[in-house]
Symmetry: C2
Subunit: 491 residues, 2 copies
Amino acid sequence: MSNKLPTRKEDYSAWYNELIKRADLAENSAVRGCMVIKPYGYAIWEKMQAALDGMFKETGHSNAYFPLFIPKSFLSKEASHVEGFAKECAVVTHYRLKNAADGSGVIVDPDAKLEEELIVRPTSETVIWSSYKNWIQSYRDLPLLINQWANVVRWEMRTRLFLRTAEFLWQEGHTAHATRQEAEAETRQMLDVYERFATEYMALPVIKGVKTANERFAGAEDTYCIEALMQDGKALQAGTSHFLGQNFAKAFDVQFTSKEGKLELVWGTSWGVSTRLIGGLIMAHSDDDGLVLPPKLAPIQVVIVPIYFNEEQLAKLDEMLYPLRDRLKKLGISTQYDNRDTQKPGWKFAEYELKGVPLRLAMGARDLEQGTIELARRDTKTKQFIPFSSVEEVVQQLLEEIQQNLYNRALSFRLDNTTLVDDYEQFKKLLDEKGGFFAAHWDGTKETEEKIKEETKATIRCIPLDAKEEAGKCIRTGMPSTKRVLFARAY
Amino acid sequence: MSNKLPTRKEDYSAWYNELIKRADLAENSAVRGCMVIKPYGYAIWEKMQAALDGMFKETGHSNAYFPLFIPKSFLSKEASHVEGFAKECAVVTHYRLKNAADGSGVIVDPDAKLEEELIVRPTSETVIWSSYKNWIQSYRDLPLLINQWANVVRWEMRTRLFLRTAEFLWQEGHTAHATRQEAEAETRQMLDVYERFATEYMALPVIKGVKTANERFAGAEDTYCIEALMQDGKALQAGTSHFLGQNFAKAFDVQFTSKEGKLELVWGTSWGVSTRLIGGLIMAHSDDDGLVLPPKLAPIQVVIVPIYFNEEQLAKLDEMLYPLRDRLKKLGISTQYDNRDTQKPGWKFAEYELKGVPLRLAMGARDLEQGTIELARRDTKTKQFIPFSSVEEVVQQLLEEIQQNLYNRALSFRLDNTTLVDDYEQFKKLLDEKGGFFAAHWDGTKETEEKIKEETKATIRCIPLDAKEEAGKCIRTGMPSTKRVLFARAY
């Protein structure tokens, strides 16, 4: 623990990588681009899953599970899906190994070649809609509201832990509806669910918007997203919700008999968030001393450390602190009592700071005498002594306060780093100097969007849903525009 | 719902397949051997996961996630592991698709060939122990108690829904310990956890035992298992717990510095159960009318059906039954109120019977007058009228009673179908006529075990942990034996 992390200012990217390593969240594996999510990192994912899964079920969705493999031919069925997607995929071509003749190990059995290659799912629209064809006959079978928790693989060339990995974990919702209106409402509802999750659990303010045609999911008519701002001024797409129109229904011939007895094509949506959110969580709140986790997603919310110089003192502290731990646990607060004798208190303090535990309680001999306990907040780094008798009350209140404080802090940061800009040179200058979100006019053409990207590395993150109608001129071409869109460099 | 299921007696296998289809549990997908787990089937898996995950955490385990892919060379590292395993695997050889020149769709890009082929994990010992090498340096890092919930792929030639599929879902625990004793204790502890889960949740009596060398997991020193008996007299291996000795530590060079400062090899275990348990659950309890689910794993524990002839009656029933549903839900009972007007009560009764809902409540106009409600048990098919005011109490009590009754019934069945046998001809005859478990003497040799398998299709399911020491003669060779082992034909 003696080595400090690189600071964010020095090297944001090194800080991020080193923090993940030291806080024991994840690591690269022997397989290129695939990560190992270590127990502490996975515990955050489990908390995310539990919260999201609850929200999905509240809104009427059920979980199911579809195959990992997709027949190659399925990917050719939806033209724009295959055009815009699915090129960098893991391809299964054989189904058997055999012992090498020279005894050196195993080799792929050349006789066991698949007739049709299988693709490890990069996303599951095709395989799911091929099932939906059999599940949907009548309007009575609709809406079909299904979610899947799964691993997916996209053969990314440049990977970064959590943010971009060849294999990642996610959830993908896939719903089918009788009308365009219902499917559009579902798309927006799930965007709202994501916004609520980001806000309430991740303490992460997000901007809801719609992607430009260029950035749209391949196969969607509209892609909605939530976009967040990281501390280095880069944007992170934190979740997407797609209105698929009838594209996949057409590709897989999914029709239903309406109440009026007419055969109609089904309307679809899909929506997903992934372990990338953990990367966003880290980058939004953490500091140069380590992780800062919002209490609602922290695997350990409170840690209690006894400070003692001999066995007798420890025994007395144990007597007070084991029951305290149990009382906090009973209140639903995930609490750890660390009375290990293999490490010193100072080491433990640094360790839990690094791991982003929101509240630390420490008690020593003097506290025992005085009936106090020391309480330290991870977010503000403030400490105070409080009466031992008030711990439960104070802890509960502070966990809420920390959750709120992290949100407020991230929101201020975003507001401070969102710039209204009307001049292209100014835009380019500020992108380099300050970063952040830029609200600017755009002429609505793909050509301009791509030119701006080429010249500045900034992309249109979204057209915010709450963007005001206002007459303006495109920042690059001067052509007329009716609302500002959100530019940023992005992960 | 008019078509009856095939009966178990007529055709057990057709009954099983048809039941899974009609109860909407799962189906085959377009990918050979891979199933789609439909929402109702997946809901059972979620209940299993929740119960098991709680037990794993209670016993000190954490979840983590390791890569889907295993470099081919890893499989060559543990000699007996590769010898006995890992031949029928999905092999990834390429990482990119491209558009076909003729515009017909996508093809595998021949230029995107991997240098080293990747195997889709059939089990994760190798990839996990390659990580453990970096995680374990000192005795302080031990024990390492990790579990993973994941999908795995074994390219089975003959597949059956839930029981044997190319891809399946499971959990795999992988632990590392400082001593043989600790690792052995862990192996046995997890076997006990599986037994408790089978008994308390699945209402499934199991026999704990150890596998013969022949049936041992490739790479293990000992494989423990729980074995259950299905209604057709065939055995089902429901879970395994392996004592790995130092085999994987050797293969991946995982050593630690002991308290005494000596470098030592780590001891390992691994243990798993899979979606196969759903197959076992179906086959253990269900009948010719459909699923019978133990209340603790039933996605819907209670269904309430209103019986009405006009809107006015329905309105009155709604007024009583919505609040009843909510009261039951508050008691933690998963309850559904089905007042759909698209289906008749008779249809609904048959549907919920088929789906194995443990308790059905039905209320009509006369009940309203008399303050009663009709209650039907799925397990015994008995019905009774009870006072409306007593519903909560009766339902809670009956759910417990049903859970217990299913266990008792399955236990009686197993006891009735376990035969002590000392004569080989008798054994062969009873295997065909009656099936079930056979407790018989065996001379302990691989040759005899294989001959018996060849001649009878029965295998040694396990050497029960509670097998009494008794002098006997091998049922096939007459050679001396000290305890009876358990034979059966098996899934």
